[in-house]
Subunit: 325 residues, 2 copies
């Protein structure tokens, strides 16, 4: 039986063995740069662990797992252009190290490389894997568009926010799990269960990411805290706080958002956080995270395979969510 | 037997029936806008005509033909961002009508939609079609990168230029023909022959496009003449002229390129064209076009199917090249 360590080794070896042409250098060097920069490789691990539920040969899912990881990294690369992000995993983003055109085009090449990897799946699994992959890839684009739309939208509700993160983050997590199940020849109902499992896990992960952006420890979180507050990003915390705050508190929060209440960066972060604490939105968010996480656990529990096969998947769940506990 | 008219109707109906979700509006409206803006639909026609060489049921290639057309339009959309082009087919480009982020993301969605269409090919043809499609898609990215690299490169040779246009334009034309052959269950050697046919046809087309940009009739060419000269674009004409011009002529050409020889837009176009005429590069280009076109014709002639089946393909050849004659 594989352990998570073995799946991790399989993933890192797989990434390391990806080959890209030497030229044109400004097309492929940014691709290698992006893939080398690490990350937790959670999505390919999910694909492999999902496959492992149904077969000892997790490597059956390896080409698709690599395709999913390359696609995920492509979305980061293009999102960083759109968000004008300067840093990613502690290094300059592709568009800031090279330029926008290099970032656009090397991202485009990564999508094709992702499909090329997916295409190496076993022929009898190719069509169903592609169907899931296409849907998750389009979901990510839709989620990113909603995310950008929300910047200019008043009155975004929690429901619409959850739908946005479902598309932007969770369908890829769900799709990664489902594709692993397909590669492992899982029955249809297990395939669907693993999709739902992944979607719930992805929602828990994204909500936790929101909480950590405001309340996390910079050392373990790996990026600067407070970015969401500084940019007035409409996260679960802010949307709920705007709904729940009353009277003077609501007024004060709105003055903080509009900049009428003059603050330094750190001052604004502390002040908004104080409002969040007063209104109790952190607890609300953590309750939602628990709810989605528990749902994912229940779904995994229902998968009709020996419990021993589920070990690596349970470890990945805890790698992805509750990482600061 | 299908005629070209019938293939054209099949193509336009296929494009018209493509469905995209209504929302997010800023993701899918630019996709529809791009696909509605027309163009000659040469690539899907090639795919269908190629399929028709081997089967009466050209519609077997329709999903892949649509995927190729959507992918082609994606490349135009992203190239227009990179080239800062304001107009395409007489209408504002997506990035100028909306903005760069909308153009990046709706282009990304188009790639996924293209693969989604390709994925609807018959299951036993899916893997080989994807293999060809992935290669042509990566070729286009490589060609675009070389094209941008050449803007900053001194001493680009004709050989490197031909390799660039082969990647940027011709492998897609060759791939379109090859995919049609695969969908039509052609024998392997015919599949390869149709690829070579398309590559040669694509080279003839691109070189002719260079000639028309300098010598064409604006009405039939459909865009402003002289753009390549104004931007010092390293086309076949300019590269060969720099090689062949001697003494004072070469000096004058270099002064025109560097801007030391002050001219209006029209003045520069006329002056560079005069150098081209003096050196005889137009004839050289037309000889190359003939050479590639003749090679394509020979290859089509060698395809071992009844001559009557080749009618639509011959018409497409003349639609694509020699369109001003």
């Amino acid at each position: 039986m594989y352990s998570l360590d073995e799946l991790s080794r399989m993933t890192e070896t797989g990434i390391g063995e990806l080959e890209f042409p030497a030229r044109p250098e400004r097309l492929y060097r940014p691709v290698r740069y992006t893939l080398e920069s690490g990350g937790k490789r959670v999505r390919p691990l999910l694909t492999l662990a999902s496959c492992l539920l149904f077969t000892d040969r997790a490597e059956k899912a390896l080409p698709a797992a690599m395709g999913i990881e390359v696609f995920h990294n492509f979305t980061l690369l293009h999102d960083d252009i759109m968000d004008r992000a300067e840093l990613r995993r502690g290094r300059p983003t592709v568009h800031s190290r090279w330029n926008d055109n290099v970032a656009i085009l090397s991202g485009d090449a990564m999508v094709v490389c992702a499909y090329d990897l997916i295409s190496r799946s076993e022929p009898d699994k190719l069509a169903p894997i592609l169907r899931v992959f296409n849907a998750l890839a389009l979901g990510v684009c839709e989620g990113q568009q909603y995310d950008m739309d929300f910047e200019e939208t008043e009155g975004v509700t929690v429901e619409r926010y959850i739908e946005m993160i479902r598309l932007k983050t969770s369908v890829m997590v769900g799709g990664a799990a489902r594709i692993g199940a397909i590669a492992g020849s899982a029955p249809q109902r297990e395939e669907e269960r693993l999709y739902d499992f992944g979607v719930n896990l992805g929602l828990a992960f994204q909500l936790q990411d929101d909480v950590l952006d405001t309340y996390g420890d910079e050392k373990t979180f790996g990026k600067q805290i407070g970015g969401d507050i500084v940019t007035n990003k409409k996260t679960f915390l802010l949307i709920r706080a705007l709904e729940l705050a009353k009277g003077g508190t609501k007024n004060y929060l709105q003055r903080l958002l509009s900049g009428k209440e003059q603050k330094t960066r750190e001052g604004k972060i502390a002040a908004v956080r104080a409002v969040y604490d007063a209104v109790g939105v952190r607890e609300l968010a953590e309750r939602e995270i628990e709810r989605y996480f528990d749902r994912a656990e229940t779904l995994l529990g229902e998968v009709e395979v020996p419990e021993a096969r589920k070990g690596p998947m349970r470890e990945i769940m805890h790698l992805l969510v509750k990482r600061n506990k």
